[in-house]
């Protein structure tokens, strides 16, 4: 691999220009980002990995150039640039994997009345009913939808895209939801063990 032998300040200075320094900096960064994405994205796709990596590297180079002023200087510039590339690539992989899944198929059915049965089954069903009710009562509709989608396995950036927000804001929304539920669970003395499935051995 060529040696992108620059200090952090030199990277920033070269990327801020628009002449041969910029071109040279991007060409020195390209193999660094290419290797980063080849070793991380490559194993995660079945076919067309080379073309996908090439496209992602191109997008990442543009993003690194455009966002270079956000680099805080507390790590190597190439570490920051590789993180920008990896985050962009993994967001794209998640988008491709989840693009055909609408949010509403992940949102829960209305809770059902517990079937009569053994005491343990009844207690378990009551606890389940209570948690579902607290989700309905304590959370906003947006919090409830986001929470259920994330619990169903949808990545946060994909939930965020469907709710017209971003991952950071969604994390804060879900954090607030968890704190509200924590208070409600604590008030009722509800713990994870109340939700153990009594039919499990």
């Amino acid at each position: 691999m060529p040696s992108p032998d620059r200090t952090n300040d030199e990277w920033l200075a070269d990327l801020a220009g628009d002449g041969p320094e910029l071109t040279a900096a991007l060409e020195d960064l390209r193999p660094v980002l290419h290797q980063a994405l080849r070793v991380t994205v490559g194993p995660r796709v079945d076919r067309g990995a080379d073309a996908l990596v090439d496209d992602l590297v191109q997008d990442a180079l543009l993003q690194v150039r455009d966002r270079a002023d956000q680099f805080r200087g507390d790590a190597r510039f190439t570490t920051w640039a590789q993180r920008v590339a990896v985050n962009l690539a993994f967001s794209e992989l998640r988008r491709k994997r989840w693009e055909d899944v609408p949010l509403d198929v992940l949102v829960a059915d209305p809770p059902q009345a517990p079937e009569p049965g053994a005491d343990a089954v009844m207690e378990q069903a009551q606890a389940v009913g209570l948690v579902r009710q607290l989700i309905r009562d304590e959370l906003t509709e947006r919090q409830s939808t986001a929470l259920q989608a994330v619990l169903a396995g949808m990545p946060m950036d994909e939930v965020a895209r469907r709710l017209d927000t971003n991952r950071n804001a969604l994390y804060k929304l879900l954090h607030d939801a968890r704190l509200r539920l924590r208070r409600a669970f604590e008030d009722r003395g509800l713990g994870p063990d109340d939700l153990l499935d009594p039919t499990d051995p």
Binding site: S3, T40, P111, Q124, L151, M156, R167, L179, L195, D197
Partner: protein, 84 residues
């Protein structure tokens, strides 16, 4: 999909473990480069940056991206003259 007992159990455990001072994904992002380099150098990140460590453990997207970044950095450091 329904909120099945195992899913709700995860939710209850996670809610009860929630704290007001958790980092958001954006907060984590501003510290994770240094965290990654410290990890690569074998330094104690849990002691120095416990909230970052906790966010990476509990946030699936950030955790996945961090693991990938470490794979990339290890591949990079295995190459001569590749660390900028």
């Amino acid at each position: 999909m329904t909120l099945t007992p195992p899913v709700l159990r995860t939710l209850v455990a996670r809610a009860l473990a929630s704290r007001p001072d958790e980092l958001s994904c954006g907060d984590c992002e501003t510290c994770v480069d240094r965290f990654a380099e410290m990890t690569l150098a074998g330094l104690d990140t849990r002691e120095a940056l416990p909230l970052v460590e906790e966010h990476l453990r509990t946030c699936r997207c950030c955790g996945e991206e961090f693991e990938a970044l470490m794979v990339a950095l290890r591949a990079c450091s295995a190459q001569p003259h590749a660390d900028g």
